[in-house]
């Protein structure tokens, strides 16, 4: 999908997002998706809620700074499932339903409504392939979400994640540049972050989400 097609589709989705408060819908029209969590292109609201809860435990927001949710890895995945990762859309829908099913069977509530400790226990079960109700096992689904959470947190912000460069700031990556001076390769220098996406330089054809 091209960026233009995506935006057209997003526009449609925003207009149709009946569940959004009026103010949020207006904000969505003027600012695109960045201000609105609920204007989804791939997930249902319930799926997104579960995914966001998982992301916030994989890379939590804590004393070391913002995490995967603040980077909007959820938005990255939502967009990618309509583009480059569309083959994995069905795996996400089934997997997220299975997370809530397992959570219900164990704790009597959906995953997003659990306390962080209980959420971590469930993710640990999933990762070690002990959680039940997953087609093909819970481990592969955990790994899928983890891989995409990392991509969404640390990839170029063009793809909808790494909002405000929080992922790059976390690890000290000084950002995409097209020219790097000798000084920026010294060990006693901490390069000033570029705060730029590769596509902010106006030199490159934009990719697909």
């Amino acid at each position: 999908m091209t960026r233009r097609e995506m935006l057209r589709q997003l526009g449609g989705a925003i207009g149709l997002a009946a569940g959004l408060p009026l103010a949020a819908r207006a904000q969505a029209r003027t600012q695109g998706l960045s201000g609105v969590a609920d204007a989804l292109v791939s997930f249902t609201a319930a799926e997104a809620k579960t995914l966001r809860a998982i992301i916030s435990r994989i890379i939590p927001s804590d004393e070391n700074g913002p995490g995967g949710l603040e980077a909007r890895a959820d938005r990255f995945i939502d967009r990618a499932l309509a583009g480059a990762l569309k083959n994995q859309k069905a795996a996400y829908s089934a997997g997220l339903a299975a997370v809530d099913g397992y959570s219900q069977s164990l704790k009597g509530r959906p995953f997003a409504d659990l306390a962080p400790n209980d959420q971590d226990a469930i993710l640990t079960d999933m990762q070690s392939n002990r959680a039940t109700g997953f087609d093909g096992g819970s481990g592969p689904f955990f790994n899928l979400v983890r891989t995409h959470t990392i991509q969404g947190t640390f990839s170029d912000p063009f793809y909808g994640g790494n909002e405000n460069f929080v992922g790059w700031d976390l690890i000290g990556y000084p950002g995409a540049r097209v020219v790097v001076s000798a000084n920026l390769q010294r060990m006693d220098v901490k390069p000033e972050p570029s705060r730029k996406s590769a596509y902010d330089y106006g030199m490159f054809t934009k990719g697909e989400f």
Binding site: R57, I58, I59, P60, D62, N64, G65, G67, A84, D120, L123, Q127, R146, I150, Q151, F154, S155, D156, F158, Y159, G167, W168, L170, I171, G172, Y173, P174, A176, R177, V178, V179, V180, A182, L184, Q185, R186, M187, D188, V189, K190, P191, A198, Y199, M203, F204, T205, G207, E208
Partner: protein, 570 residues
């Protein structure tokens, strides 16, 4: 029904690192040359510093080759080969568009491994089962062509041996060269300077390695911008000296050289006298026959062997130029396994740069040290380099996490602190050919056109494993001297040789048709007007990247064709 095109002097199959060089001397000599390339021209606008795009396989356009020509491999003949990917790319310039661009000459020893080993240590030291031979030419024979390549594509570096005069700012173990590199070495970084100091503290000889990357403006191209995103990526400013931005455009300007893109060569035709008459190729499913006086086969190692084995005719019932059964033999891929990584207690600021921007040590390569008390021959080049990408950093630092947790707050704290504190060395080691390592056509797996793909049957042997362990220990010493707190990796190089970007042999160069396919000029022993270009003619690997050597050989083969045009073409 194939359409027969107008005859030309020379057809070059494949315009990658090798074919993309051979076209220049031919065009300069005034020959009419057609280059058939399965890929197309690439655009710098598509070469964004975008890790996700690069890692998804959208660029470089490699997956097409995997889908069409993905090879199968197995460690030995008792197993069934399984389909894998193909590490190379179809494009004008081929994989030289996105390679690491380390641009080395082999050392003189690499040309005479067999005789030098016997002379210095005795015949018993040739590893069992190895088919290693001396090359039919010496380093000195190739030196003028190394020089042409360095100047025509643009290589940056510091000479360590000019006409026998050693200079330890360069590689004192290199063969004698007649002059300095055309550009100074790529600049050093803080991390590289730390590794230089550490190497010197051990009494070794670290130097900035040569790279086919501009260190300053060169022939209309700018100097490298060191922005990262160089591994497996094209250069946004054409500072990487691929053939697509150097020798190919020069050849187009010099003479009657035309590039035909999206031409997938299927077979080479031969007449009843055993001479090749031209090349069959497909474009968009249409068949064409391009007649030529001479053919230079310059696709990748796997496809060189494949095209020959698929080109059966009356004089060549077992495949073109294969009446001695040598096509596919003496195959090996470079021993690069057995990774060694270090964790430092400080940031390296290694985010930018390029793998061509690195420090090498050759003290433990080739026969640069005494092997009398050792139980292997050859050695390895120690190499550390710059460039680190954010997602790769997060995944790469995982090997250092205590307990192996890979999510949650503790993990996040560790990643935050250490993402820029680790480094993995690139260790290229001597690999030998063996009698039971070979390429042939897979009996079961076919490409979408219905042609069998290449099957690799090859595994590392004791000599490779012993070098792996030895070199890992040396690399560990170097890292520890630089202040590493921990070094991982014991140099276990593993068993099977899968598909590799450093593949060698299959159409080995030699004097004896019973043990080689091409002569010392790169022309077939059996087929007088067929030349072969690329790593498939190389009989030894050395301990360094093959590209510049196979480019020098390609130049020399083309030069031989020019100088002997009348006898070869008629």
């Amino acid at each position: 029904m194939a359409t027969t095109l107008k005859k030309t002097n020379v057809v070059i199959i494949g315009l990658g690192a090798a074919g993309g060089v051979a076209c220049l001397p031919l065009a300069q000599a005034g020959l009419e040359v057609i280059g058939l390339e399965a890929g197309s021209w690439l655009n710098t606008k598509d070469m964004a510093p975008d890790e996700l795009k690069l890692s998804r396989g959208l660029w470089p356009p490699g997956p097409q080759k995997t889908k069409v020509e993905g090879v199968t491999s197995r460690p030995n003949a008792s197993q069934t080969a399984v389909r894998g990917n193909h590490p190379m790319m179809n494009a004008v310039g081929g994989t030289s568009v996105h390679y690491m661009a380390q641009s080395w000459r082999l050392n003189p020893w690499d040309f005479k491994v067999r005789s030098e080993t016997i002379r210095r240590y005795g015949a018993s030291r040739i590893p069992k089962g190895s088919t290693i031979e001396d090359w039919p030419l010496a380093y000195e024979d190739l030196e003028p062509f190394y020089d042409h390549v360095e100047y025509e594509i643009g290589v940056s570096g510091k000479a360590g041996n000019i006409a026998g005069k050693k200079d330890d700012r360069g590689n004192i173990f290199e063969g004698s060269r007649k002059r300095e590199f055309p550009m100074p070495a790529l600049r050093t970084t803080g991390y590289m300077e730390k590794m230089i100091a550490a190497g010197k503290s051990l009494g070794w000889h670290p130097f900035v390695a040569p790279a086919a990357i501009t260190s300053r403006a060169y022939e209309g191209r700018p100097g490298c911008a060191y922005h990262g995103y160089c591994i497996g990526a094209g250069c946004h400013i054409n500072a990487k000296s691929s053939t697509a931005v150097t020798t190919i455009p020069k050849a187009m300007k010099a003479g009657k050289f035309s590039v035909v893109t999206e031409a997938r060569v299927t077979t080479i035709e031969a007449d009843n006298n055993g001479r090749v008459t031209g090349v069959n190729y497909l474009t968009d499913g249409q068949e064409y026959f391009q007649p030529a006086d001479a053919v230079l086969l310059g696709s990748y190692v796997y496809e060189n062997v494949r095209v020959l084995l698929l080109s059966k005719s009356k004089p060549y019932p077992n495949g073109l130029t294969n009446n001695h059964g040598q096509v596919g033999k003496h195959y090996f891929s470079h021993n690069q396994g057995g990774a060694v990584s270090a964790l430092f207690p400080f940031n390296l600021n290694n985010w930018y740069g390029t793998p061509g921007q690195g420090i090498a040590i050759d003290n433990w390569a080739d026969d640069n040290f005494d092997h009398s008390g050792l139980d292997f021959i050859g050695g390895g080049n120690l190499y550390v380099y710059t460039e680190r990408r954010p997602i790769a950093a997060v995944n790469g630092v995982q090997g250092w996490v205590q307990g192996g947790a890979n999510w949650g707050s503790k993990w996040k704290a560790f990643v935050k602190e250490n993402a820029d504190r680790y480094n993995t060395a690139y260790l290229q080691k001597t690999t030998l050919p063996y009698e039971d390592n070979y390429l042939d056509l897979d009996p079961a797996v076919k490409d979408p056109l219905g042609f069998p793909v290449i099957r690799i049957t090859a595994e590392y042997k004791d000599n490779e494993r012993k070098i792996g362990a030895f070199i890992a220990e040396k690399m560990k010493q170097w890292y520890m001297a630089a202040g590493a707190v921990q070094v991982n990796g014991n140099g276990n190089v593993g068993g099977a040789m899968g598909a590799s970007t450093h593949a060698y042999g299959g159409t080995r160069m030699g004097n004896d048709p019973e043990t080689s396919v091409v002569d010392k000029w790169g022309f077939s022993h059996e087929t007088p007007n067929l030349g072969i270009l690329g790593g498939s003619v190389m009989g030894t690997s050395g301990a360094r990247n093959p590209t510049q050597t196979l480019q020098a050989l390609a130049w020399r083969t083309a030069d031989h064709l020019v100088k002997n045009w009348k006898s070869i073409s008629s």
